[in-house]
Symmetry: C2
Subunit: 280 residues, 2 copies
DNA sequence: CGCTCGGTTCCAGTGGCCGGAACGGTGGGG
DNA sequence: CCCCACCGTTCCGGCCACTGGAACCGAGCG
């Protein structure tokens, strides 16, 4: 456990976005109060759920008085709650986030995931691709299983994870835009683009991706894409102790579950594709 | 199924907050752009996940050009995504919402809920109290079970639901502020405050609350509070067909599960109490 | 063709945002 | 004890980003 969380701490220090530089230097970005508000909201993370005023000011990079004003506004909106021990993300943000397409996906996937969870008795992950990262939508933990670094709502570099590889493999098959993604972080392992590209090709061919102790020692994952309407919208993975073998037994149930989820996705929801118009 | 959704439509039309009057008339409310942004975000709901531009403008009550500008900003922030079919809540809002204390609670409760779900084979609800309403944090559906009006992220009047009654009973035991809550909606059933107060007292005494077809015909629920550090922070309920009896068999497993969840809540999280400072 | 409705762009005026600065309170360490 | 570092709050003049009515374009439609 300490090993897992230790590794996770190391990872998250790299995962977390660049330390909130003042604003965008280019003229394009509007330094509106809305941007500041999201800087404040972005100060919170699943492993730092409660922050003091000063912590928010530091993390958001905003002047104290501005931070104070923005926080007061957010509290008034119900987006943030002020307790005696500090500020927290408010229930209102949960309610807003619950309207996202990803929650709809989670809702549909959950029964099937539960069933798989009963069978596999291992930790399950449901994640979507977001640029170079995967964002975890759901996680079904299993008692006394290998701890995994995934946290619901948080993201990890896609090329570190089985779900990420499964999704990258599909994406690359559609548009050969892999170069962008393969530009991996400096000096980090799996920095060999050619080998990684080959692994993606293999993953795509056999229909599943693997991660053997690449993110956490002792942890292995196999992942399959969830396809709906011809393209992958998410990925599902099982985590198990690396010492337990290659997990072939889990592959078929995993595939069946992913297929079942893909089939039960309403066509309207398939518009949750990765293709969102990134403005400018 | 059609019965359930029909009834839900009827309910949600009452549940949804007053149709977004212009702004607050009193001088206290700041009509800042942030307020407008949340008006826009509040236009979405779990059953209206995708809205066209005009729908957002109408629902938020903002002028067209203002709506346009605010939407563009929100898209730039990643809070909203623009697809060909309209606007949706963005993944970023899910990520922000995942930092709320309620998601932490959900995270801890989920394993125990899954286990109960296996045993009971009925739909489970996890909800918190928010003023006069309950907000659903988690819902484990069961195939071919009675459909329930609860939607994760959405709210229902507390006095219509078993979870709500369980929480109101606890709250009333702490502070006799029941009058506020008992002022129920005009002409709606269970408008008899005295009888309702008595029911709450009974619920508190026996440790669980019930709902027999009060919200949906054919649906019954029993709910127990989840207590941590001496006060109720959430409630857990099982839904079952009213024709199946009173659900006594489910009561003990339900109690055990709620107790187990309450026990496993870290003390730090208990600051998720209902007492948030509602400014001004 | 004229109408309605969805969606976008423009623009001048102004009021809301800006953030440095100053102020109280607290703790702790020399 | 004093001093300092830090947290949190408040104030205020200047300026610019927000405001929203209005005009515009295209599509559907009777």
């Amino acid at each position: 456990m300490s090993l897992g969380s230790e590794l996770f701490a190391e990872m998250s220090s790299l995962v977390v976005e660049a330390p909130h530089q003042p604003v965008d230097v280019r003229a394009g970005a509007a330094p509106s109060i809305l941007k500041k508000a999201f800087d404040v909201l972005g100060s919170f993370s699943p492993d730092r759920r409660v922050l003091s005023f000063a912590e928010v000011a530091r993390a958001s990079g905003l002047p104290k008085s501005t931070t104070h004003r923005v926080l007061a506004m957010l509290v008034e909106m119900g987006a943030v709650e002020q307790h005696t021990d500090g500020y927290r993300i408010g229930l209102r943000m949960f309610a807003v986030g619950a309207c996202s397409a990803e929650v709809a996906l989670r809702d549909i996937a959950l029964p099937a995931m539960e069933e798989l969870h009963r069978i596999a008795r291992q930790t399950l992950h449901l994640a979507v691709l977001r640029g170079p990262d995967v964002v975890y939508i759901e996680k079904l933990r299993t008692h006394q299983a290998v701890p995994t670094p995934a946290v619901v709502g948080a993201s990890l570099p896609a090329h570190w994870t089985a779900v990420g590889k499964a999704l990258l493999a599909e994406e690359r098959a559609e548009s050969a835009a892999s170069t962008e993604v393969l530009r991996s972080r400096a000096g980090r392992k799996m920095a060999d683009p050619a080998a990684f590209a080959q692994e993606l090709t293999l993953s795509r061919a056999r229909g599943y991706a693997v991660d053997r102790e690449e993110s956490v020692a002792g942890l292995a994952c196999i992942a399959v894409p969830i396809v709906a309407g011809g393209s992958a919208v998410a990925a599902l993975s099982v985590a198990f102790p690396a010492a337990a073998g290659k997990g072939e037994v889990l592959l078929n149930p995993l595939r069946a579950t992913a297929a079942r989820i893909g089939r039960s996705l309403p066509p309207a929801l398939r518009g949750s594709l990765l293709r969102e118009r990134h403005a400018r």
